[in-house]
């Protein structure tokens, strides 16, 4: 409910995906609070919004549509941080549909005008699963204090190509966006909540914006 939201409130959008509690615990380990919610007014009134996600883009977008969250999320003006699939949902579209129809394109939130495509792993094993280093890091406040060469935990088979929206990149067979940003939206392809102290620094930077 909107009247339960105090100043400097953080919300984690309940996308119906499974890693909500790990994201909440990560925020709490840093001494912040966060509310898991799918209430439109609570999300609109929050100071910071985290959009988590694991699993499949088609199922996750279907959940967001069913919960009537699309317009609310698109119109947010406060800082919004996406994790993994949450980042991919910020893109224009994703080609991760389902095993039965692999040519279908999923329309996403389109708050960062880039596409999500199959990761071009050049023969390397997929999913890209484990700790990998950032190859480039640009000047973004959420990445303050993060250097190329630092390890983060990745689990994915789709990715945003490197573009003008890339704020950090990683390499696995080819270069791809480890993080993308546009206006008040930023998303990380890796899991900051499972990336040790470097991941915690990203979450802390965001919550302190």
């Amino acid at each position: 409910m909107a009247n339960t939201v105090s100043q400097n409130s953080n919300v984690i959008v309940d996308t119906g995906c499974a890693n909500l509690s790990s994201v909440k615990f990560a925020v709490e380990r840093l001494g912040f609070k966060a509310l898991i919610t799918d209430d439109l007014e609570t999300i609109k009134g929050a100071d910071k919004v985290i959009l988590p996600g694991v699993g499949n883009a088609k199922h996750a977008m279907a959940n967001i549509v069913k919960k009537d969250l699309v317009v609310t999320l698109q119109q947010l003006e406060q800082p919004v941080l996406g994790f993994c699939l949450g980042m991919q949902l910020m893109a224009q579209s994703s080609s991760e549909s389902s095993l039965s129809d692999q040519n279908e394109i999923i329309n996403c939130l389109n708050v960062i005008p880039t596409e999500v495509l199959p990761l071009e792993a050049d023969g390397l094993r997929l999913p890209h699963m484990g700790w990998n280093t950032l190859t480039t890091v640009t000047d973004h406040p959420v990445f303050a204090g993060i250097e190329p060469g630092e390890y983060f935990y990745f689990v994915h088979s789709f990715a945003a190509p490197v573009s003008e929206y890339t704020v950090a990149s990683c390499q696995y067979g080819s270069d791809f966006s480890a993080a993308i940003a546009h206006n008040n939206f930023i998303g990380c392809q890796f899991h900051p909540e499972r990336s040790g102290s470097a991941g915690s620094k990203i979450i802390k930077n965001f919550l302190e914006l």
Binding site: S21, M129, T133, G196
Partner: protein, 262 residues
Amino acid sequence: MLAKRIIPCLDVRDGKVVKGVKFRNHEIIGDIVPLAEKYAQAGADELVFYDITASSDGRVVDKSWVSRIAEVIDIPFCVAGGIKTEADARQILMMGADKISINSPALQDPELIARLADHFGQQCVVVGIDSYFNSEANGGAGEYQVYQFTGDETRTQKTTWTTFDWIEKVQSLGAGEIVLNCMNQDGVRQGYDLAQLSQARAVCQVPLIASGGAGVIEHFTEVFKQADVDGALAASVFHKGVIAMDQLKQSLRDQNIEIRPC
């Protein structure tokens, strides 16, 4: 570059971490949460928790500890033991586990792998395989065979699957990672089964984790260099302090193996 993973495995029974030799004679090592926290801080890349009695007893893992672990650690972890349905998996993932690992239930109902991958994504579906080299099988030539219910000596039984056929089958169903536990080596610290893991690697296109046999640092070096596994799982060498995480990781880095520093 993608790093090779060092994965301490904590066998859990009745809320305590235990360790047996060749799956038998379990002794209590300690409480789960402080041990999990200790390994995460020491530089482990991932943790696996196996409720070793769950499948055999026909009950699901006691789940309260899953969220207690998720609260304290900031590295990924996987929970195994008695996950038989999508509902079981959902509950454990909702409590904060990053992956679920299935073993005996997948042998009884292989389609479970496909259902879990469809619901939760391939990336969080790990299939554990207990493989035993039976030297008398295959007309005396020997054969790697898949076993089930290995958590309970009285129920442990051979399946009709050979290990490499089962590896191919679980991948075709949507397994996102395979942990190959070489039972002949388990707990005896004589080294990973490099021959078996190399053969498994040849048919495994998803991440492959070696399990069973680590005794000294060189065993890790060998398994990464010779069998090209994505991760190496070990228990007793870490629980008993035989190998320190920082020394292990530094040695592997000195051998030019891609490893995340502690």
